[in-house]
Amino acid sequence: MQRRIQKLRLALVALALWLASASLASTAPAIELGQPAPAFSAPAVDGSQISLTDYRGKVVFLDFWASWCGPCAQSLPALDGLRGEFPDSEFQVLAVNVDRKREAARTFLRRRPVGYPSALDPSGEIPVRFGVQTMPTSFLIDRDGVVRHVHRGFRPSDVPELRRKIQALLAAGR
């Protein structure tokens, strides 16, 4: 009898611990290099619809940002600069804004306008699919829609490395 109670007790504690760990360990796995980028379609800031598959055939730099994210205030103008260095027909910067309030994204872009489109995803479904682990995170996607580079965080000193990676992908697809 005593032994059975002991076993039951252990089982109960194990169950409680398992429940506790299950509720905490529910983060999405990060996307790996060489995997196809998950397709998505979302409304843009200007009201149009943005779909990743529309840009197949171009090298795409996909950036996840938010108005409250400190480094994003630096990364948006820097990415806009990079966009201007390459021909529009071959290279596209796309952004996904993850602000819960769409108006926050619009206000940010009014203050710091950029020439590339931003999709709005207030529910946070797209970053789950990409397994975003820090803000900001960017994905460099080749002409066939395959993720070739993941860039986590942003510092202005990262730009030369990003430029090299974009140049390499543009040269590879020719």
Binding site: A16, L17, L19, Q133, M135
Partner: protein, 73 residues
Amino acid sequence: MRALRPTLMVCLLLSLGLGGCSVVRPWEREALARSDMAWEPDPLEASLDSHIRFSKEASLSGGTAGGGGCGCN
């Protein structure tokens, strides 16, 4: 069954506590990113404050290193 009562209580408390657990994903940290949510909203002022404090408090060591009270900082 009576012998199991304390265990049941512990499990109940553990599972009640679970209600307070949640995963905050990176793109959900809007409130946490606010400057008034930082431990030190003003790092410069905080470091000045801590310097004044540890140079006046003889019984306290400095903010990070051991020792203190010698008046040499």
